[in-house]
Amino acid sequence: MSVPRPTIRVKRAFGMAVQGEAVVSEEGFSPRYDLDRWSGVITRPGHKLEGINIRDKILFFPTAKGGIAAGWAFYDIKAKGIAPKALIFGVTNPVMVQGAVFANLTITEGWSRDPRECLKTGDIVRVDPQAKTIELLKRANG
């Protein structure tokens, strides 16, 4: 028998349903201060995801960092073709939400269980903003 696959319920959500590869971060995120906005690679020295490319990924972050700049940043990286598919936050702020809405990127806030406990980077997940759920579709190694 297969083990039931975890589903996370989120509190708030915007955007289209998407599926893709999860990147689960221990650390918060700022598109301005952590990201190389030309390559899509997280370049801030010492960031837990340093070296990871965010393009087409579903990104899980416990918190949002940074100030007002995120409002433009997502739109710019989407125009450059290096945007992630979705941003999944434990706690976020209005600037991240505004930035995602402006760029038409899926974003959610709040989670019924901590993704760091039930998901791994590389897992394939589906985010459904309408249903406010995140579903594990396939494990990274299986």
Binding site: F14, R32, I68, G71, D76, G99
Partner: protein, 413 residues
């Protein structure tokens, strides 16, 4: 969300496509936060420069301007990434400077006042109690909410612009009484003096309570703080903690008493900040190579009072050979500082005054750092000590007088 007849007409395109799209975007964010309605705003402050918006944002502005978009509410702009008078000498990119000029043109075409200051509240507009705003730059928002008792969320560039076109914002976050109540209590047993000490206080509280919806209540402040002290405290709280509001009992308008500031909330935490805690902040910075050739007074831009004090501290002194000192301020402040002779004193000492910018957002800063061999940045601003690390600086917070001494002697202390 409950929309008015006017808002429904806007969504049908009665006031044109740019307004329709602006309101549509605002409503999506309102829905996300469960806003029940929109509320009118009287003043807008937006962040928009080529460094922050990139080519994608520039193209968006070009299309908006060409489609006849026009701001109806008074709207000013935040500090930007070029002071054109210094761009070449700083080794900034000519192509990006040309884009910045086009960007400014599009904004003016849309009825935006390109004032280029992050201290609009000290130089351009003083909101009144309860006034609804759509301000960008976190330091301006935390000032408006805390010191003025006005109401604003963090509004990023595209959303400030949207609010300027629609003259409204969705009512969520700090527009609602429920989010303005204190969530934690901070007893200040430290008598902060220098601006850097107020910034250090903000760092201690912000770093340990990182949340947009955290509202610290400061008690025990033993003397009336100055506007610049509150400016540095707020900018630091917003930078380290992503916070948009604080109370200070007996000082800020929604905190005549601790009970009033909490508004019935049971504080999640009580913390005490002592003199030893503040001293520990200053001792926490390392200077691995001992260099100190880059000293910055910026983030937020300096008020006229700060310019006067710096001019006094630099009077009859010279910046040490090989050291660069940047001061940033707003056009109006610089004009007054020239009329009063403060700017000349600073320049005679070898200080570079940049207008309409902030150091940490300067275009090409990472390359500028490498080209000039600036390993460490020393500043009296806790905010910039935090934000500029994105450009791979090692940063060190020092009191204003110590910054001036370091700048003039070339000796780190």
């Amino acid at each position: 969300m409950k929309l008015t007849a006017e808002e429904r007409a806007m969504l049908r395109g009665k006031r044109g496509e740019p307004v329709r799209r602006a309101l549509e975007l605002q409503i999506e964010v309102g829905r996300f936060y469960g806003a029940k309605r929109c509320v009118p705003v009287t003043n807008v402050h937006m962040m928009g420069d080529i460094e922050v918006m990139g080519d994608g944002g520039l193209e968006h502005l070009r299309r908006l301007a060409r489609s006849g978009a026009r701001c109806e509410a008074a709207v000013t702009t935040n500090a930007r990434c070029f002071d054109f008078a210094h761009a070449e000498r700083l080794g900034q990119d000519a192509g990006e400077a040309a884009k910045e000029r086009r960007l400014i043109g599009y904004l003016r075409q849309m009825n935006v006042m390109t004032t280029d200051t992050c201290i609009n509240y000290q130089t351009l507009y003083q909101p009144h109690f309860g006034e609804r705003l759509a301000w960008g730059d976190t330091g301006t928002v935390i000032w408006a909410n805390s010191v003025c008792g006005a109401r604003s969320n963090f509004e990023s560039g595209p959303f400030a612009l949207a609010a300027a076109m629609t003259r409204r914002v969705p009512e969520y976050g700090f527009h609602l009484d429920a989010h303005r109540r204190g969530t934690c209590v901070v007893e200040v047993d430290a008598d902060p003096g220098d601006l850097a000490e107020w910034g250090a206080l903000g760092k201690l509280v912000g770093e340990s309570h990182q949340s947009y919806f955290a509202v610290p209540v400061f008690t025990g402040v033993r003397r009336a703080p100055t506007a610049d002290e509150l400016k540095h405290l707020g900018a630091s709280l917003a930078s380290y903690g992503s916070m948009a509001m604080y109370h200070m009992v007996g000082v800020t308008p929604e905190a005549p008493t601790l009970a009033a500031a909490l508004g019935g909330n049971r504080p999640k935490e009580r913390m005490r900040i002592t003199r030893a805690d503040i001293e520990r902040v200053f001792r926490s910075y390392e200077n691995p190579d001992g260099s100190c050739n880059f000293v910055v007074f910026s983030g937020p831009q300096l008020s006229l009072l700060e310019m006067k004090r710096l001019a006094e501290l630099f009077d009859d002194r010279r910046v040490h050979a090989g050291t660069t000192v940047f001061v940033t301020t707003a056009n109006g402040v610089l004009s007054a500082a020239r009329a009063l002779g403060y700017a000349q004193k600073l320049e005679a000492a070898g200080v570079t005054i940049l207008e309409g910018v902030c150091v940490y957002i300067l275009q090409n800063l990472t390359r500028m750092r490498a080209a000039n061999g600036w390993a460490n940045m020393i500043s009296n601003s806790a905010k910039i000590v935090n934000t500029i690390t994105a450009h791979k600086f090692n940063t060190i917070l020092r009191r204003t007088r110590d910054c001036v001494d370091i700048a003039c002697t070339g000796v780190f202390r």
